[in-house]
Symmetry: C3
């Protein structure tokens, strides 16, 4: 049981982004009333308000923000105060054209949207730190201010810049990383294609070339870009800390297709905050939500965290922005809480009726408060108020899935053995199979301690550092269970394949080698001897000390091992050499989980999600019924939303949620 995640907030945080600039007084007044009705206790203010508080360079005007914070404070609503640095004002762009972002094609990006300046630009960084400092100086100890929200979604919509300033900063970064040009040449393998450098000044950002650029060069540019963004964050955070004792965070987007390396960011943040949006057309969007929440909690080292943004209904930037069905926003929010969120906020409290996001949903829709959405928001607020006891409790996981953004960056470079190698799809397939069995998952960096896990899964660990590979070996040899899928352990941190057969970093622990990749044709299926089906990938596995569990029955690897297991030290390592269909993977995982001693919970029925948060002496069982059928589950304790005792079993109606507090099991 942790102390309060956000000091001074004694309940589950509930609210959203609040942008009251430009609204007439009567609306502002109604806002306070609606916040009260909805049980809002925390709102994010100021995300894009740079122009409002610094209308001219160096001239601050806090009148509007003073009034806003005062109004919220009077209404008893806490403030998550944002620095506005994801939206430099027009005067900034005009005065500092060199701070604009140059993309990889050589286009200077326009400024009529939102977005960071060149992350390496001292002009941008200094201006950002100054405005953060001014805010902190004024509001750092204001009683309404509970939390700092630096910038917005670092890396979106700009992750990297290729301007001359960035090029110079990249060279500086490389010097620090490699010390000598010779070391860089070794790390980048510049002997290939004759790319050897003799002077730092010869090195450029990997702008679009006639063909594939050196992959280590590209990977280092992503590392550099990540570090530059993180430096931007640090500069603002430090400016705030000089004036404020409140926790500082920034809103991550943990499941974006390309993200910064949040493992490096998390230690710099006082708490972890995440933005999550459903992919509305996905039928399994709630499983992706669970993954996002588990990943966020993992970045938080298991501690509670803040859901900084999600949506009450449709977003506006997907191809087809499906609205949420009745009950869905409540299930979504409580899913996040079940998986460790101690605050669930929406983008946004009330939408502006103009601008690029006017079709994004809000807590108060365009149609006003007498709407399904606002009613559901209010009901949710009432529910959350009943969950104060959950605050600070923790979710435990016996299974870890490896997750490493730099490995994804590396794998996503061009010229891989197959375009069907998709790390996210591989991870999601394994995650889904575990979710279906109500096995709660943590995500782990491959070099982090894995001691607490009964089973570790590496569905897609293309790049493994030597340290990470040793870590996995040690984990297994000391009794751990490891399931590795194909195309893992292929390259080291320099993006080099270790000497000898693949998977160089893992062949000892797996007790086998891969002689050759045998990617499949588009849509091609291969049968396995055990009756399963694979697609996308096969390979030529040569068993060492490992034992074959299943074979390819046809296709290019016909007759060769498809699944193997290796007793290594006190543990076991499984290997999976194809992309199995859902049933095949479920069967394999059932066996792996059983062998690993992981308990699964499948009795409740399909679509009934079950997660446990553990507090001091009590467990909070969350049952979330995503199906259209009522489900009955066994439980003894008290149902928190209704306040009724549960003696033996409880029905979770279709689409509904039940939360039962019980005496802690362990």
């Amino acid at each position: 049981m942790d102390g309060p995640l956000i000091p001074g907030l004694e309940q589950i945080g509930f609210g959203g982004d609040y942008n009251p600039d430009g609204w007439p007084e009567h609306v502002l007044k109604e806002d306070m009333e609606l916040m009260r009705r909805a049980g809002v206790n925390l709102v994010t203010v100021g995300v894009f308000s740079w122009y409002a508080i610094e209308p001219r360079a160096g001239t601050y005007d806090f009148a509007w923000l003073d009034a806003t914070i005062e109004r919220l404070d009077k209404a008893g609503v806490g403030v998550c105060l944002a620095t506005p640095t994801a939206g430099p004002p027009a005067w900034f762009w005009r005065a500092n054209p060199d701070a604009r972002v140059l993309d990889r094609q050589g286009h200077t990006l326009g400024t009529a949207a939102r977005g960071i300046g060149c992350p390496s630009s001292a002009t941008y960084r200094d201006a950002a730190a100054r405005v953060a400092s001014a805010l902190a100086e004024r509001y750092g100890e204001h009683p309404a201010v509970k939390l700092w929200h630096v910038h917005n979604e670092y890396g979106v919509p700009v992750f990297d810049c290729y301007c001359a300033t960035s090029a110079a900063a990249f060279r500086t970064w490389l010097r620090a990383r490699y010390g000598t040009v010779a070391a860089l040449n070794r790390a980048w393998g510049t002997v290939f294609w004759g790319q050897r450098y003799s002077d730092w000044a010869e090195i450029e950002p990997p702008v679009r070339a006639a063909t594939a650029a050196n992959p280590t060069h590209q990977l280092d540019y992503q590392r550099f870009s990540n570090d530059e963004l993180l430096d931007c964050y640090r500069a603002e955070r430090d400016a705030i800390r000089a004036h404020s004792s409140r926790p500082v965070t920034t809103n991550l987007m943990t499941t974006n297709r390309q993200t910064p390396d949040y493992w490096a960011w998390a230690p710099e943040m006082d708490l972890i905050a995440n933005d999550h949006y459903l992919t509305a057309e996905r039928e399994d969007a709630h499983v992706d939500l669970a993954l996002s929440a588990d990943l966020t909690r993992s970045y938080a080292q298991g501690r509670p965290w803040v859901l900084m943004e999600h949506s009450t209904s449709a977003v506006n930037w997907q191809p087809r922005n499906l609205a949420k069905a009745p009950g869905e926003l409540r299930r979504n929010s409580l899913q996040h809480v079940a998986r460790g969120a101690d605050a669930t906020l929406f983008f946004q409290f009330r939408a502006h009726p103009f601008g690029a996001e006017k079709f994004h949903s809000a807590m108060v829709p365009q149609a006003g408060p007498d709407t399904r959405v606002f009613r559901e928001v209010s009901e949710l607020g009432a529910d959350l108020a009943l969950l104060r006891g959950v605050l600070g409790s923790r979710v435990r996981a016996e299974v870890a899935i490896l997750w490493d953004p730099p490995s994804f960056w590396a794998q996503d470079l061009e010229w891989r053995p197959s375009v069907d190698l998709d790390h996210r799809a591989q991870i999601e397939a394994h995650y889904r199979a575990l979710w279906d069995r109500n096995v709660t998952v943590a995500f782990a960096h491959p070099a982090a301690s894995l001691d607490g896990y009964r089973l570790v899964i590496a569905p897609a660990s293309y790049l493994l550092s030597a340290a990470a590979a040793s870590n996995l070996s040690r984990y297994v040899s000391e009794g751990g269970n490891l399931l590795v899928s194909y195309f893992s352990g292929i390259v080291n941190e320099c993006e080099h394949m270790p000497d000898g057969p693949m998977p160089g970093q893992l062949r000892e622990v797996l007790g086998l080698t891969v002689e050759e990749f045998l990617p499949l044709r588009a849509g091609q299926l291969v049968r396995l001897g055990g009756g399963g089906l694979g697609s996308r990938w096969a390979e030529h596995v040569e068993l060492g000390a490992a034992t074959c569990l299943d074979t390819f029955a046809d296709g290019p690897a016909s007759g060769r091992p498809a699944v193997a297991v290796h007793a290594f030290g006190s543990g076991r390592a499984w290997y999976l050499a194809t992309s199995p269909d859902a049933a095949t993977l479920a069967g394999l995982l059932a066996s792996v989980l059983a062998t690993s001693g992981v308990s699964a919970d499948v009795e409740a029925g399909e679509g009934l999600e079950h997660v446990v948060r553990r507090g001091d002496g009590q467990d909070f069982h969350f049952w979330i019924n995503h199906s259209g059928v009522d489900r009955e589950v066994g439980a003894v304790g008290r149902e928190l939303l209704s306040g009724t005792p549960v003696a033996g079993s409880i029905t979770v109606p279709a689409g509904d949620v039940r939360i039962v507090s019980t005496v802690a099991a362990g």
Copy 2:
């Protein structure tokens, strides 16, 4: 009955673009003979001849053009004289590199093709006006010259430019539109994403940014670009008028996917001219042709108009340039005449055997005059000569469909609720249902007088100005019938959603509100209670005073209204909340037409088009049989193409056309 559309042309205009530069004498001589055989009486000369008449800056050479006009005059062929400003000569581009177009990505466009200079460039505009003036001075009163054709297809292939000259002109345009930066900030909603401006100089064209630019900013850039093009036209027109009494026009492309706002152009033109090309692979290309003709006639306020370009057979720029089938060019031409064209011209009389368009068809094909195409052209010429009586007669429509290019510009910006929101598809679906019933349609600007129409349809009026919305309300309250489809009346001219529930501008007249959009998945179908089917879209309608006519039977809006009607003042307003399939829409329209008192003509049979032009005391009934089956229709009068009397009925053979002159009905 109007006076002659083109003074001095006493017949239906017939001919094409004529580019005789570069041909040997014997071909020029043959041209005159072939024009005679085909009955050509009007050709467009000089569209891309700038280099020929101004071979060096300021030096004119009219020898070639003198000879050409003389030759045509002697042959009794009228001249539609073009200004050549859509193809500045090579010397111009070399001397004026700053007049080149910079695209939205930041690429300067090359000059080895055709295309306007930067529309805001004074250098380009002055050069264009000078060459127009020189032409008018020399040929303005030449007896052969019947009509002026300014430029070519404004907006194609260049609609907008993003260079520094354009940026400065945009700021000037904004000052004129908004007066103050504060007013601009309000109109653009720059409070969103912190985009507020404090100085005109901060404002740039909306070049490609990292994400979606401010939509009002983008919309205003399209308005600005439209106005700049229109100013280019006006400058040339005025230069011509100083020396010539002949009518001045420019060839529109009314049904291009993106067009200028031709409602603003039409009053500046002495007559309306249009270019229309079939989308060759569309099976219903002739329905699209009818729409184009009706729209062109509507821009002409119902007066006759000129079809400046269409093709005798294949074009060259579509993916698969299907040739026209035998008889098709005649049906196409007479369809245009039926719908108000008093001249039908082709691009082109004879094709050059080189250059970018050598595979475009012509009146005289590459294979020469002894060809199907030239024979059909000649037969058409003979037919048209029999239609002199039709000249000046008018087509009447009882139904109007709303059409507003700026609304389309706005809707086509990014981040709409669904990519399946397609204004053109919506309009075409309604048009097709009316065409199938031989209901003749006019297109109307939403703020224009609608008094003459029994029914007004708004299939896709996303943006409605306050004036337009009032206009629609007044129309209904005074007894009109209005059918509105979903995603109409959503934003005002600033691209803001009015306060309160959607559709803000129309909720009173419709007697309902839309609480939430419920876009459908790709390919998803929803059933309606009345047995129909919808796709793409559903929404949460809350009825006010309106009456529900049909409901959603499944899908996200299950149980809610899908079709409603509202008695408002002396009229009625229907609302349609999904995209119905063809049969469902036909059923709805049958009922709406009947209620509105609109007469339909469905007895003749599928594919038989029937349109009436009304002259002084007589009606001209055009029957065009697009089907493969002979059709018999009732008629009394005289068939004009055969000169035979019709007493009671007439057969329209498959693929053929009959035009019967009768005593006027009304």
Copy 3:
């Protein structure tokens, strides 16, 4: 029987690209041992080693290369010494930013990959010639050096550059081609769209414009780019010849989608070398291989040639890099030998475990020599050692297919009658039908002598010069048999259509004209009267003296000729007006081959390839069984791989190869 292709190499050349830079000593030692085991006798050294031998501008360091060549020489392995000019070193790019390539969009390409400098840059060319000269001076007469390999794959990844240097060079090239601006205006047809030039300085490269640029302008830019690349090659070759007597070549990529005009390159090369890679997902990749080999042999005027690169298994740059199946690398290699290769080399001997191509296969895989791939490589080496007698023997072809890269460049420009006009698909369809009948094919330039062929096929000769058209007519009139497919003979070398009906250049020899193209809809099929099926294309053929052999039974050309034949002089010319399906084409070709007196070999069965190389007094019959079924064929002689006599027949096992030496037939 030719003399040795590579003097000093007395066996079929066997080996691969060898890039030993950066490997430790023990690997280099193992390399020599593995080369011995595999029977390697020729390796390519230095392709990307510019940085190694000229580490600073003007400073050479040959230590590494000396050692490498010495080591190979001691091991008895010949050296194909490459100039490294496809990979300028980093110092070069830094010192010479103006030598970078500017693409057609206006982007300067980055240098962190491989690629040529601007081909027109004197800076680049001089630097390249200097390094070639330095290499030749040092190694030109080294006994180990057998062959020079200039640059690498000219045209890949950069074919054209649009920088100011290129623009100036283009103007120079145009002056030389046309002499006067007036002549250029005529050739380019600048009268169209008013593009006439009055000064050379007005002419620019055809950078991206708002719409289609002048096609002759574009075509000339490709000719110019080809010539500039060829000049780069000549400069290096001449620098080498000044110091070396060894043959000089460069590795072509004959079947790339876009290639230089290798007919112009071949006479500049001492021998022809080719790179060929399977399109791994194509089921008929081995037929494409045969086409590539036949084309390469044709560029070599029928003489033996060198396969400079192919792969032992997967490549790394295709969407799905399927590995080769067991036996496939041997069949591929022996297919090349069967079709005239006297050397078959792989990219690459051993792969670097880093860089952009680490997933490309090699003779020694990442997994080392104890692998299927290295075993198959070694078996192949042993096989090839048995084929010394084949060296210098020649393949004969009775059928020629026309092939002309500039025609392909022209056809691939925008705005053709149909996007389904695909010259490669047309050629491959005809080639496949001949391959299925074991009819060996040569490829011929349309203006080259065709005297030796019984049948010439023009499946896709869109552009034909006047000389080429005369050549075809003369060939037929003197007794040849010519089969022409649609969209051939349409334009001349200026990309102009000749006067009169199409196909202007071929209508006399074909005895027919094409009045109009009638392209089909996407996926549309048309039936032929003879029972066949066509797709993509139909046309309106008017017979002159030709005789109709088959008609269109439906579709837009219904009732008109689809296949015709014309007796012309002593020969015959067939015409095919649609794209027939495989069975229809096979039927037509069976008849055309029989009439032309071409012998086919279809008895062996599907998938059994049969090619004959003829030496002095003996024929070498290669049977390559691509099927899964053993095949028996008639033969008398000696099987070379097993050394066993063959008396009457021999079985070619599934997937296997048999090579029988017999007494020459002719």
